[in-house]
Every structure is written in structure tokens, then in C-alpha cells.
């Protein structure tokens, strides 16, 4: 049974006709072509499908697209701003937090939500914040380093803007 939904993804409103059994992850990738969102385990264990739904990081493989109707979604593609890569993105590149890259989108989006609520996280806060996102390459150390670096960049940026 197909139905029409409206969703806002990365600031752009889309009207889509979707089958009720399709997940938000499938629609983001297949209908909108935003393939930065990955699909891995598809049962909520790995976190590669992480998107931000109304300010909360969620597994988009466990959200029906029809449930997302009327809601606001940010994918990894939505983090790039006018000044280029988001500090989290550049920190992941510079700190060597990306190896195969399959977990990176989800990892960065979970970290983004963490930093939105907690601009000065401890390493333990960071580990907890990304604990729903699995990485099989890095051993997490460099990912935690990158989030720490990004947190510092973001707070100093904010300081500069305010000043």
C-alpha cells in the first residue's frame, strides 16, 4: 500500500510516494539518492544507518518511511556547510578516524548529537555517545580523538562568533 509522505531532509522538503513496508534508510538511499547513509545489519545493531530525526540520532533501518512523515531528518550530506566540511568531518579525516569508512557517516551523526547537547564531553561521554555505532577497523581510539578535536574546534568557533 503506497502513500504520499512529506519529509524534510537536510533542509529540503520532499513529497514522496512510498510503500508502507519501506524503511527510512531505503527511501533516503534509493529515492533521494543520499547514499552517505549506509545499510549494514539492518536490525539496529551496527549503527551505519544513523540519521538525525528531529534532533535525535536513530537507526533509520528501524523507522518506517511512513512514520517519518512530517518530520525533519539530517543525513551526513546535510553536515557540509557554506564553509565546507563540518568540524567533525574534517577532524575525522585529519585524525585518521576513517579506515574503510563504512561506519563514518553514522559515527559522525551520533557524535554531532552528542556535541549538540554536551559541548565539552569527556572521553567516556564520547564512548557512550557513539556506543550504538560499531567500527571494525580503528579500535575506536582515533574516533574518540577526532570527536575530542572537533569539540574543541566547535567551542572555539562558537567563542569567536560570540566575540
Amino acid at each position: 500500500m503506497a502513500q504520499t509522505i512529506q519529509i524534510t531532509v537536510n533542509g529540503v522538503s520532499h513529497d514522496l510516494l512510498v510503500e508502507s513496508n519501506r524503511t527510512l534508510a531505503q527511501v533516503i538511499r534509493e529515492d533521494l539518492g543520499l547514499t552517505g547513509t549506509k545499510q549494514g545489519c539492518e536490525i539496529g545493531d551496527c549503527g551505519v544507518c544513523t540519521v538525525i530525526l528531529d534532533g535525535k540520532a536513530v537507526n533509520s533501518c528501524l523507522v518506517l518511511a511512513v512514520e517519518a512523515a512530517g518530520h525533519t531528518i539530517t543525513t551526513i550530506e546535510g553536515l557540509v556547510g557554506e564553509r565546507g566540511l563540518h568540524p567533525l568531518q574534517s577532524a575525522f579525516v585529519n585524525e585518521g578516524a576513517i579506515q574503510c569508512g563504512f561506519c563514518t557517516s553514522g559515527m559522525i551523526l551520533s557524535a554531532k548529537v552528542l556535541l549538540d547537547h554536551n559541548p565539552h564531553p569527556t572521553r567516556q561521554d564520547i564512548r557512550q555517545g557513539i556506543s550504538g555505532n560499531l567500527c571494525r577497523c580503528t579500535g575506536y581510539q582515533k574516533i574518540v580523538d577526532a570527536v575530542e578535536v572537533a569539540a574543541k574546534m566547535l567551542t572555539s568557533e562558537k567563542g569567536n562568533d560570540d566575540g
Binding site: M1, Q3, E19, S20, N21, R22, T23, E42, I43, G44, D45, G47, T50, L53, K56, A57, V58, N59, L62, V63, L64, V66, E67, S110, Q128, G129, S131, G132, N133
Partner: protein, 295 residues
């Protein structure tokens, strides 16, 4: 991994929802957070022809506390993250916030709901022990009205509860906890996130002025077909101070009366030892919290 086809309904009122469930009966699956239901549907374990989503039913949302009585009301669609981070719950019903905080991962907690965690009725679920200790009441609403069930009587066994297929779990209510009470949820697993308990133990203690235990509730998870209370342990505690002798007796009583199974997560013998260790730690920590007023 594709979801099978189904007809989707998203009612906006409870009445509309109840008439859908009445019409479709057991052909309909109720979708709350989806973190269990959609997984089971993807794996082909269940194939409902109709899915009724609760996410737009306003009556099922929200956390509120009654100003005078201090009673807590949780709409069944409240997420585990909302419970784990809610200031009043963290302060006055902390054992529940502790349980919610240990469920799944941050991503799962942003979707998984308290109602869903009850209805799925898993023996290792993280909210059951805390809710049993708090004496929570569950409200079920069907075509002929609402009924209240104490959480202890809600579960029947793995995956089954007293909810009928035409009923919706609408809300959970919890009476205020008196002062000088402390609660703790201890979960033992191999890792800290995305883990199903090998054993979990919940303890709520209230102390008299002279530090003897006036009230005790102890619940054990993942050791029987549903989370159970341990009346023997509670009897060992009430009327005694939380000293070494009481702790030992109470922890041994918890282990002696539970009959866990052996499975992929742990053997029966191992679980029994864990029950003793965790019950002991739980009582010690709950007593500490009671003295510093951390429910």
C-alpha cells in the same frame, strides 16, 4: 533485509486505534518504537497483515507528575531515552532511569518505548525489575474501557502478557516513593551497550530512622520466564539493619530460590552465582542511596 508487505494504519486518537484493533484482532501488530517488532518482521518471525502505529496517538505521549501526590505518569509511547534523561525521574525514581539507561544503545533508546518494553515481555528486559520494585500500575484500554494491572501480574512468560489483542497499553503510573528510600538496578552482561542481561537485579530499600530496613523489594531478571520478585530475600531484609549478616542471608536466599536456565549467555550455575553477588551488591548500594536519598 526487506520487510514483508502489510497494510499500515496510523490513528491519531485512542478511539480510532481501538476500533482498528477490534476490527483486525490478532492479524494486527501494534507498532510502538519498532526496535523489536520491525526486527522480528524482517527476520520473518512474524508476518502481520496489518500494522497499527501508535506514534501519532496523542494520549499515549508525555511524562507528568502530580504536584500534590507526587505520582508519576508515563505515557506508553515515552522513549527510554526520555525516561533515562528526565530530571524528575532521575531524582525521585532513579531506579527506573538506571534501567532505561541500560537498554540497547543511544540510537535504540531514542526509539524504544516503555510500553513496547513491557508488551514484548522479554525475561531479561531492563525496565521490568525497576517497575516491579516501584510497584508500578499498568493501564490497559480496550473497547469496553480501561483496567489497571500491577506490573508483577502483567507478564505471563517470554513474549506473553495479559494484554488482549484488542487492548492498548496506555500508561504506567507509579506512586511517590517515601523519603529515606534508595533504589539500584544492576545489570550483568559481557559488554555495556547493546547487551541482553545475563542476570539483572533491582533493589529498592526504605530505611527507618535507626537504619533498619522498613520496606524492601528485590526483583531478579533473566533467571526465569519473566522477571520475578524474591519474597524470601525481602523477608530476610525487613526489620533488620543492612549489616553483613543480613546481606549474606538475603543474597543466599535470592540465589537459592531462583531456577535459571542454561543458554548461550550463561549457564544456570553461573547465573545462580551472579544472582547472589548482584543481590548483595544491590542491597549495599540501595542502602547507601537510601541514606543519601537517591531513590
Amino acid at each position: 533485509m526487506l520487510l514483508p508487505k502489510f497494510t499500515f494504519h496510523e490513528p491519531e486518537t485512542l478511539d480510532e486505534c481501538l476500533s482498528l484493533l477490534d476490527r483486525y484482532g490478532s492479524d494486527a501488530a501494534v507498532l510502538a518504537g519498532g526496535t523489536d517488532l520491525l526486527v522480528n518482521m524482517k527476520k520473518g518471525l512474524i508476518r502481520p497483515s496489518v500494522v497499527v502505529s501508535l506514534s501519532r496517538v496523542g494520549e499515549l505521549q508525555g511524562i507528568s507528575t502530580d504536584g500534590d501526590s507526587g505520582k508519576l505518569r508515563l505515557g506508553s509511547m515515552v522513549t527510554m531515552d526520555a525516561i533515562a534523561t528526565h530530571q524528575v525521574i532521575k531524582k525521585h525514581f532513579s531506579i527506573l532511569a538506571q534501567g532505561a539507561q541500560r537498554l540497547g544503545s543511544p540510537l535504540i533508546r531514542n526509539r524504544a518505548t516503555i510500553g513496547g518494553n513491557l508488551v514484548t515481555a522479554r525475561p531479561a528486559a531492563d525496565s521490568h525489575g525497576p517497575l516491579i520494585c516501584l510497584g508500578a500500575q499498568i493501564e490497559l484500554t480496550g473497547p469496553s474501557g480501561s483496567r489497571k494491572v500491577p506490573v508483577e501480574d502483567f507478564f505471563q512468560g517470554p513474549g506473553t502478557s495479559v494484554r488482549r489483542s484488542n487492548e492498548v497499553l496506555t500508561q504506567i503510573t507509579i506512586d511517590k516513593i517515601p523519603p529515606k528510600c534508595g533504589g539500584v538496578y544492576l545489570k550483568y552482561g559481557i559488554r555495556k551497550t547493546l547487551e541482553i542481561s545475563v542476570v539483572n537485579v533491582s533493589v529498592l530499600l526504605c530505611l527507618e530512622k535507626d537504619k533498619t530496613i522498613a520496606h524492601a523489594r528485590v526483583a531478579l531478571g533473566a533467571v526465569s520466564p519473566k522477571t520475578i520478585r524474591s519474597p524470601d530475600t525481602e523477608r530476610c531484609l525487613i526489620g533488620n539493619p543492612p549489616d553483613e549478616k543480613t546481606l549474606k542471608k538475603a543474597a543466599e536466599a535470592a540465589a537459592a530460590r531462583c531456577q535459571p536456565i542454561s543458554d548461550i549467555r550463561g549457564s544456570a550455575e553461573y547465573r545462580q552465582i551472579l544472582v547472589e553477588v548482584l543481590t548483595r551488591r544491590g542491597i549495599e548500594e540501595a542502602a547507601r542511596r537510601a541514606l543519601s536519598r537517591k531513590v
